[in-house]
C-alpha cells in the first residue's frame, strides 16, 4: 500500500522482538464482538489511477478565469505572487506541527511573530494572535472576548454583517447564552457593538460613530475589516475600536471553494489576556540570543481546560504564513497600489453599470471601496447569461436579505483588467 514502509520481514522481526506470534496478540483489549473483517470501501489504487479519479472530479467543476470573476461576498480573486506558494510548499513549514518545542520550531515561530506584527500594523492595534479558522469564527471569538471582559450577555450587530458570519456568531452565542441583537443602539446590557467595514454589500459604515456609541454604553467596539481596504481606510486602532477581526483570504490564498482561509484578530493591550488561540512572544536562551516561543499559554485549553478563553488548538498557521509572505511581498506601497487599482476600477465599473438601462446603484448615497451593490432588473437571468459567456457575474444577495430584491454586488480587483470589464459590459449590453 502506497504510504506504508514495512516489508513482511520487518513486521515479523518486530513481532518477534515484542515476543508475540501475531498482530492479534496486540489487539487483545478490543472485544471480539467489536471486530470487523474489513472496511466497506473500495481497494486502494495506484497514484496514477488515484490522480486520474481526482482529476476527473476536478474536471466536473467549472473554473471562471480570474479576470472574468466579478463575484465577491467574502472571497475574492486577487493576484497571488508565486512567492507565496514557493514558501508555503516548503515541507519544513507545511509538515511541521504546532511549535511545542521552540528550539526546533524557530522558523514557524518567527514567521507567526511576523504575522502578528503585520496584522497589528495593518489594524493599528497593539497585539494580534497567531490566527483563527476564518473570518466568521473570528467575529464569534471576538464576541466571546467582549462577553467575558464586560460580563454582559448581549452583542449588538449593526448593519450588513456577512450573513454567514452572523449565523456563526449566533451558533457560538447560543452556546454561551449570549443574545445577538441587530441594531445600532447599545445599552447597559451590551457587551459589544459589532460592525463590518466595508460591510457585506461593500458599503462604508461610520466606524467612529459606532465605536463611540459602544464606548458610551460601556461596551466594546468590534470591527470586522477587509485587510486590503486598510491600505486606504482608517484602521480600527485609529477610530478606537477595541478588537479588530477579519478574513485573510485576500492576502495570498486561493478561493478553494471557501477554505482553508484564515481568520485574524487583534486587540488593545488591555484585552490580550482574553485573546483566543496561539500567541507567539520573544524569549532568550542562556547565551542571551533572541528566540520565539508560544506565550501566555495560561489562556489556553491545554493548560486552563474548561477555563480557557477558547477551545481552539490547531489553528490556520500555514494560511497565516501565506498571508505574511503576501503582505511582505507587497509592502506598504504594493498594498496601497493593489487597493487603489481595485478602488479605481470598481468605481469605473459602477459608473458604467449605472448607465445600463434599468440598472442603478442600490445605495447611491453610500461610499464603497471595491465592491458595491447594484439594483439589477431580472438579476437571476442576467447572471445566468453572464455565466454562459464564461463570466462569473456579481452576487445576488436577495438570497440572504429579503428586503434586497434584485440587488447584486459586484467586485473589482487588480485581476479584472480593462478588457475584462469591457467584455462584462458588452455582454450586459448585448
Amino acid at each position: 500500500m502506497p504510504y506504508l514502509v514495512h516489508s513482511e520481514d520487518d513486521r515479523a522481526a518486530m513481532l518477534a522482538a515484542i515476543g508475540v506470534p501475531s498482530m492479534d496478540d496486540l489487539l487483545v483489549d478490543i472485544p471480539q464482538s467489536l471486530r470487523i473483517e474489513s472496511l466497506d470501501l473500495p481497494a486502494g489504487l495506484s497514484e496514477f489511477e488515484t490522480m486520474s479519479q481526482i482529476t476527473a472530479l476536478a474536471a466536473r467543476n467549472r473554473v471562471f478565469p480570474d479576470r472574468l470573476t466579478f463575484r465577491g461576498g467574502g472571497v475574492y480573486r486577487r493576484f497571488i505572487p508565486a512567492a507565496v506558494a514557493a514558501v508555503t510548499s516548503k515541507p519544513e513549514f507545511y509538515t511541521a506541527y504546532t511549535p511545542y518545542q521552540p528550539e526546533a520550531s524557530q522558523g514557524t515561530l518567527q514567521a507567526i511573530y511576523e504575522f502578528q506584527t503585520l496584522i497589528a500594523e495593518l489594524t493599528g492595534l497593539d497585539v494580534a494572535n497567531a490566527s483563527l479558522y476564518d473570518g466568521a469564527t473570528a467575529v464569534a471569538e471576538a464576541a466571546m472576548m467582549a462577553h467575558v471582559q464586560t460580563g454582559r450577555d448581549e452583542v449588538v450587530v449593526s448593519g450588513y454583517l456577512h450573513p454567514e458570519y452572523m449565523e456563526v456568531l449566533r451558533a457560538f452565542s447560543d452556546g454561551r447564552g449570549i443574545k445577538v441583537r441587530k441594531g445600532t443602539q447599545p445599552n447597559a446590557k451590551t457587551a459589544a457593538v459589532i460592525f463590518q467595514q466595508p460591510d457585506f454589500l461593500g458599503l462604508l459604515v461610520d466606524p467612529r460613530a459606532l465605536t463611540d456609541a459602544a464606548h458610551a454604553a460601556g461596551a466594546l467596539a468590534i470591527a470586522c475589516v477587509d485587510p486590503i481596504s486598510l491600505a486606504i481606510l482608517a484602521p480600527p486602532g485609529e477610530y478606537g475600536a477595541d478588537i479588530a477581526v477579519g478574513e485573510g483570504q485576500q492576502l495570498g490564498l486561493s478561493p478553494s471553494y471557501g477554505g482553508p482561509h484564515v481568520g485574524f484578530i487583534s486587540c488593545r493591550r488591555e484585552l490580550v489576556r482574553r485573546l483566543p488561540g496561539r500567541l507567539v512572544g520573544i524569549a532568550h536562551d542562556a547565551q542571551g540570543r533572541r528566540g520565539f516561543v508560544l506565550a501566555l499559554a495560561a489562556r489556553e485549553q491545554h493548560i486552563r481546560r474548561e477555563k480557557a478563553t477558547s477551545n481552539i488548538c490547531t489553528n490556520h498557521s500555514l494560511c497565516a504564513l501565506a498571508a505574511s509572505v503576501y503582505m511582505t511581498y507587497m509592502g506598504p506601497d504594493g498594498l496601497r497600489q493593489v487597493a487603489d487599482v481595485s478602488f479605481i476600477r470598481a468605481h469605473a465599473l459602477a459608473d458604467r453599470l449605472s448607465r445600463l438601462p434599468g440598472w442603478e446603484l442600490a445605495f447611491p448615497e453610500r461610499h464603497f471601496v471595491n465592491e458595491f451593490p447594484m439594483r439589477v432588473p431580472k438579476a437571476p437571468a442576467v447572471l445566468r447569461k453572464l455565466a454562459r459567456k464564461g463570466i462569473l457575474g456579481g452576487l445576488d444577495v436577495h438570497r440572504w436579505f429579503r428586503e434586497l430584491t434584485g440587488v447584486v454586488t459586484f467586485t473589482c480587483t487588480e485581476v479584472n483588467d480593462a478588457r475584462a470589464i469591457d467584455e462584462l459590459v458588452a455582454v450586459l449590453e448585448s
Binding site: 471562471f64 452556546g175 486561493s254 478561493p255 532568550h284 477555563k307 506598504p332
Partner: protein
C-alpha cells in the same frame, strides 16, 4: 544560525513589486472618500525585495524540524507521512479556483468529492452522516456538543453537565464549557482506563454527554467501552468520541459499533493532511441517526447523480463556520483514502499499533512504563525513574532534539507524572524506531553520568533552551502597561 525579522531588514524604497496599473480613469480614494474614512499613515509593513523575502523564508524554513526530515513521535498528534500527491490534488485549478458562491451546477465535482468523502468517513467510523464543516478537532468537538445540546433541548430535556475523563485532551473540557456545560471530571483507574465506579457516581440526569477517546490518551483501549456506553445511554446521556486516536483501529473496529453517538475526526492526523505548523486541519463530525436532524447547514445531498447543498434544515444548529469547511483539506484526505483503500487503511492501523508496541518494548528497560500490557498506536512512558538524577521529561525532550529527533509529547496526559507520550505511526521504518530507542538509551545513561549536559540541551539547534519564565515576566510587565518592549509584536525603534 539566526535570522533577523523582515521588519529589521526593511529599507525605505527597497525594490517594491511591480503591479498592474488601473488602466482606466476613475476617482482616487482621496478624492472619492470623506477624509475621516481615510488612513492617515500607511501601515508599517516591511519594505523588502523579492530576493530578500525568498532568502528570508528559506532560512526560516531551515530552522524548523518537520515530519519531512525528522521522526516526529509527538504522542496524540499522529505525525505521519504527508503524501506529496495530496498537495498536487488540492492545487488542481478545478478545485483551488472555485468560488464558494458559484452555482451548484458548476461545482458538481467538488460536491461529489465531499459526498464521497462523507460516505467513506461514515464507513470508517460507523455513523450515519458526517458534516465536513468544522475546521479542526476542537471545532468538531464543539459542533458535536452543540448538536447533543440541541438534541436534548428538542426533547425538552435541558442537561447541564458534560463528563470528561481526567486523561482527556484540554480541548474536551474547553469545548464543553464553550457550550455552557458544567464540566465534571471522571477519574482513571490504576489500569489507566476509566474507573466505572467513578463514572457511575458522576452519571445523573443532568449529564448531557460523556466525552471519550478510545484508545484513551494513555494509548490504552477502553476494554469496557460497551459497559460504559450502556451506563451512559441508560441515563439518557450521549456518548461522544474524540477521534484524535482513530489511527489505532481503522478497519479493526468502529466507534459507531462501540456505542458512540457522535464522533469527530482529525483529517490532519489520521488522514494525512499536513499540520502546516499549526493548521489548517479539518475536523469532520459523524453522528448517528438521532443527531442527523441537528447537523450544521448546508449538508451535501445526492439525488440520482445530481448533487446539491441542502440549506433547509429546520432543526439544524446552523453554521459553525463560513462556507463548507476547509475544502482544500478535504481534497487531500479524500485523495489519501482513494489511494489507501479499505485494505490500506486497515494495514495502516495494524502497522501503527505494531510500531508503537515495538518501540515501547525497545525502551521499556530505560523508562518507566506506568501501565501493563500491549498499547495501541501510542504509549505513555514516564521519566519518573530519573527523578533522583534530577532529570525531567523536558530534559529528555531537549536531548532528543539534539539527536535530530523531534520530541515526544511531554507532561500530557496529566494523570502520568513526567509523562513522555510516544506515537511512532505506521510511516516510520524499523530502522528509525531502532535509532530512536538507541538515542533514549544514550540519554538515560547520560542522566546517570552527566545530568547537567541534559539540562544544557539542546546544543545543536539554532537556539538554546529558551527561558519562558523570564519571557512571561516581560510579557506581564508589557500587559500591565509598565513597558513598551516589543514582546508580542515587533515595534520600530523610531516609533
Amino acid at each position: 544560525m539566526t535570522e533577523l525579522l523582515s521588519f529589521e531588514k526593511s529599507r525605505k524604497g527597497a525594490h517594491p513589486p511591480r503591479l498592474p496599473d488601473a488602466e482606466m480613469a476613475g476617482p482616487e480614494p482621496a478624492q472619492a472618500l470623506p477624509p475621516e474614512q481615510l488612513r492617515l499613515t500607511p501601515p508599517g509593513l516591511p519594505q523588502l525585495s523579492e530576493p530578500e523575502i525568498m532568502r528570508h523564508y528559506s532560512r526560516l524554513a531551515s530552522m524548523n524540524y518537520s515530519i519531512s526530515k525528522q521522526f516526529y513521535p509527538l504522542g496524540s498528534c499522529t505525525m505521519k507521512y504527508n503524501p506529496v500527491v495530496n498537495e498536487a490534488a488540492a492545487a488542481l485549478p478545478g478545485f483551488a479556483g472555485l468560488h464558494p458562491y458559484q452555482d451548484e451546477d458548476t461545482v458538481q465535482g467538488a460536491l461529489e468529492l465531499m459526498w464521497r468523502l462523507e460516505q467513506a468517513l461514515c464507513a470508517v467510523v460507523g455513523v450515519d452522516r458526517v458534516t465536513l464543516q468544522p475546521a479542526a478537532g476542537a471545532h468538531g468537538e464543539w459542533t458535536a456538543l452543540r448538536m447533543i445540546n440541541a438534541f436534548h433541548h428538542s426533547r425538552g430535556d435541558a442537561r447541564t453537565e458534560v463528563l470528561v475523563p481526567d486523561s482527556a485532551h484540554g480541548t474536551n473540557p474547553a469545548s464543553a464549557a464553550l457550550n455552557g456545560f458544567h464540566v465534571v471530571e471522571v477519574k482513571s483507574g490504576r489500569d489507566g482506563r476509566m474507573s466505572l465506579a467513578d463514572l457511575e457516581s458522576k452519571l445523573s440526569p443532568r449529564v448531557a454527554a460523556l466525552m471519550l477517546t478510545n484508545p484513551n490518551t494513555l494509548g490504552l483501549f477502553e476494554r469496557q467501552i460497551l459497559d460504559i456506553a450502556e451506563m451512559v445511554h441508560a441515563t439518557g446521556a450521549m456518548l461522544y468520541y474524540d477521534g484524535a486516536n482513530l489511527n489505532a483501529f481503522m478497519g479493526i473496529c468502529r466507534p459507531g459499533d462501540m456505542g458512540f453517538d457522535a464522533v469527530h475526526m482529525n483529517l490532519h492526523k489520521t488522514f494525512t493532511t499536513p499540520h502546516g505548523g499549526g493548521g489548517p486541519g479539518a475536523g469532520p463530525v459523524g453522528v448517528k441517526s438521532e443527531l442527523v436532524p441537528f447537523l450544521p447547514t448546508p449538508t451535501v445531498e445526492r439525488t440520482n447523480g445530481h448533487l446539491r447543498l441542502d440549506f433547509k434544515r429546520p432543526k439544524s444548529i446552523g453554521r459553525v463556520r463560513s462556507f463548507y469547511g476547509n475544502f482544500g483539506m478535504l481534497v487531500r484526505a479524500y485523495t489519501y483514502i482513494v489511494a489507501m483503500g479499505g485494505d490500506g487503511l486497515k494495514q495502516a492501523s495494524h502497522d501503527a499499533v505494531l510500531g508503537a508496541n515495538y518501540l515501547q518494548n525497545q525502551v521499556k528497560g530505560d523508562l518507566e512504563m506506568p501501565h501493563e500490557g500491549p498499547c495501541m498506536h501510542e504509549f505513555v512512558a514516564s521519566a519518573h525513574n530519573l527523578a533522583h538524577d534530577g532529570v525531567k521529561a523536558l530534559d529528555i525532550a531537549k536531548a532528543l532534539l539534539d539527536r535530530d529527533f523531534y520530541a515526544p509529547t511531554v507532561y500530557f496526559p496529566l494523570v502520568v507524572p513526567e509523562a513522555i507520550m510516544v506515537e511512532p505511526t505506521e510511516t516510520e521504518s524499523k530502522a528509525t524506531l531502532d535509532a530512536f530507542a538507541t538515542a533514549i538509551k544514550e540519554i538515560v545513561a547520560q542522566a546517570k553520568t552527566d545530568p547537567q549536559s541534559l539540562h544544557d540541551a539542546p546544543k545543536n539547534l539554532p537556539i538554546g533552551r529558551l527561558d519562558e519564565v523570564a519571557a512571561a515576566r516581560r510579557i506581564n510587565t508589557y500587559l500591565q502597561g509598565q513597558s513598551e518592549d516589543p514582546v508580542l509584536r515587533w515595534k520600530s525603534p523610531e516609533k
